[in-house]
């Protein structure tokens, strides 16, 4: 495991956290359409904690670092968002434990860990109109790009584009999980707030990549 690996992971987490804090109001508005409007608030409180505690996280390796992030956000985010986002980081941490280097394949396995964790914890799957509908196809796309020998820059661009495309496509789905599911058919026509938030987070991450 090189220090570059950890630096990349740190960049990803920091960028995600900064977007969650900066976009509190925008994410809240996305969620207010059919949910209960607390997504922006919840994520901002959790990732604010990540930014505040940034220097105190243990950095023995990528796995340890991500486990600390999981604990920090889950402890601060109320409702179900905390455990869901926390589980994503926890499972990514578990996947990273067995890896020697954070290459493209490693990123895929960490993302798979994260999405499988969200599926299990939230009892949700593809098509339920959740952030999984953006994140799973985007991970598939990343895997395809890697297999085709794409460069890191191409991989990141393709990942962001797929996340955006699929987040937008959740508009056609009916919510079956989470608070938005109380709105049933009314949820059709608006994108899932979690998926749309993930798209915004990924787009900024890729645009700012050092």
């Amino acid at each position: 495991m090189s220090s570059t690996d950890l630096a990349d992971v740190e960049f990803v987490v920091r960028s995600l956290a900064q977007t969650a804090v900066d976009k509190e109001e925008a994410f809240g508005d996305l969620d207010a359409v059919v949910g209960d409007g607390d997504l922006g608030y919840s994520l901002a409180r959790g990732f604010e904690k990540v930014l505040a505690d940034w220097d105190s996280f243990k950095r023995d390796d990528v796995s340890t670092f991500l486990q600390q992030i999981a604990l920090a956000i889950s402890s601060r985010i109320g409702g179900t968002s905390g455990p869901l986002w926390g589980t994503a980081f926890l499972r990514a941490s578990a996947a990273a434990k067995t890896l020697d280097t954070i290459d493209g394949a490693a990123v895929v396995s960490m993302l798979r860990g994260a999405t499988d964790g969200i599926k299990a914890r939230g009892n949700a799957d593809l098509g339920d109109k959740t952030l999984l509908d953006a994140l799973i196809p985007a991970t598939d796309e990343l895997e395809r790009q890697l297999a085709a020998g794409a460069s890191p820059v191409q991989c990141r661009a393709a990942f962001a584009a797929k996340t955006r495309e699929c987040a937008d496509a959740t508009s056609a789905l009916e919510a079956r999980r989470g608070r938005a599911s109380y709105s049933g058919a009314r949820s059709i026509g608006s994108p899932d707030a979690g998926a749309a938030a993930v798209a915004i987070i990924v787009e900024r991450m890729v645009a700012d990549w050092p």
């Binding site: 999981a70 889950s74 402890s75 601060r76 109320g78 409702g79 179900t80 455990p83 589980t87 914890r121």
Partner: protein, 331 residues
């Protein structure tokens, strides 16, 4: 609404501090994690029994910590799941070579937090399992749950698993007993009034002067129907019927019968309900082996009650009869 409260945000810590000061020989308060634990714990020779939940259900669960009952209770704020780091730290603090059992009433928020704490502490080598209690027959899914809610019947699960743990049972055996008791325990409740969280200062929901909520959850969540106020015997009928039919309890069964107050109903009224429930069971050939009347799992100051039945066998009855010592005491 008049309440004894200073800073509403400090309501739970203030309560816990008082509880610890009143029971210096038996309880320890760890303010960093809202934790109430046995002063002599954790006992390395037994499975540690921990229950987590929101506050506002007292005596559940911080006031039922003691020998023969919980080793620790991990409460959140009023009606809110405890934060993950509290549960995680509590699990590590209560780690015993024989394992830790985390008991949770089935509410989605609590379930997620305790599942995650279990996953994190397992990864660190602690033997820890979770067991979810779902005794409420009122509704199948609700505002806060997938599946049935866990309510006052969790007292019997706690009592039985704690007794088994004191006797030296291993974690698998303790879980077997917990699952068994949960599988024969059924509850249904009714609210006569709403409840008032200290931080809110006003009733959590609207319930008309002449209305009652049949099948209410322990946070005031809707149950089966909003009904007009009726006589006590009729209320017993409407609670006991679904409970009896659900398992079902049959002619010849021996049961534990609990009438639990939801916080704002005098014990005199609870005994009135008990008398009728006892007689109605007798008419159906169901005999009461053990009786429980009082406040076990409340909803702050809600007026109302719940009725719980547990089907007894020799094993369950013997575990329920083992000695226990908790802060709720008269002498």
């Amino acid at each position: 609404m008049k309440k004894f409260v200073n800073d509403p945000q400090q309501f739970v810590p203030d309560m816990l501090e008082g509880l610890a000061l009143a029971n210096p020989d038996t309880l320890k308060y760890v303010p960093e994690y809202n934790l109430i634990m046995r002063a002599d714990g954790p006992d390395r020779n037994k499975v540690s029994i921990v229950q987590g939940s929101g506050s506002g259900h007292e005596p559940a669960h911080v006031m039922i910590v003691g020998k023969g009952m919980l080793d620790a209770a991990c409460p959140g704020d009023v009606f809110a799941a405890p934060p993950l780091d509290y549960v995680y730290e509590t699990t590590k603090l209560m780690a015993s070579p024989k394992g830790v059992l985390l008991l949770v009433n089935n509410y989605t928020g609590d379930k997620m937090v305790f599942d995650m704490a279990q996953e994190m502490s397992s990864a660190e080598g602690i033997e820890v399992k979770t067991l979810f209690i779902n005794d409420d027959v009122s509704v199948e899914d609700s505002t806060y749950t997938i599946g049935r809610r866990g309510v006052a019947g969790n007292f019997f699960v706690i009592k039985a698993v704690a007794a088994a743990a004191e006797r030296g049972a291993d974690l698998d055996e303790v879980i077997r007993i917990g699952e068994k008791v949960n599988s024969v325990t059924r509850t249904m409740g009714v609210a006569l009034t709403a409840c008032t969280p200290p931080a809110k200062g006003s009733p959590l929901f609207e319930l008309g002067e002449d209305e009652i909520e049949m099948g209410v959850g322990i946070h005031g969540e809707p149950g089966r129907r909003r009904a007009k106020m009726m006589g006590a015997n009729e209320i017993v009928e409407e609670l006991l019927g679904p409970v009896v039919r659900d398992l079902p309890f049959r002619d010849g069964d021996r049961v534990a019968l609990m009438v639990n107050g939801l916080g704002g109903t005098p014990i005199s009224e609870l005994y009135l309900l008990y008398g009728q429930a006892h007689k109605r069971l007798a008419e159906q050939g169901i005999s009461v082996g053990r009786s429980y009347v009082g406040e076990y799992c409340t909803s702050l100051d809600m007026a109302g009650a719940s009725i719980t039945l547990v089907k007894l066998d020799d094993e369950i009855e013997s575990l329920l009869m083992d000695p226990a010592e908790i802060p709720i005491r008269v002498f």
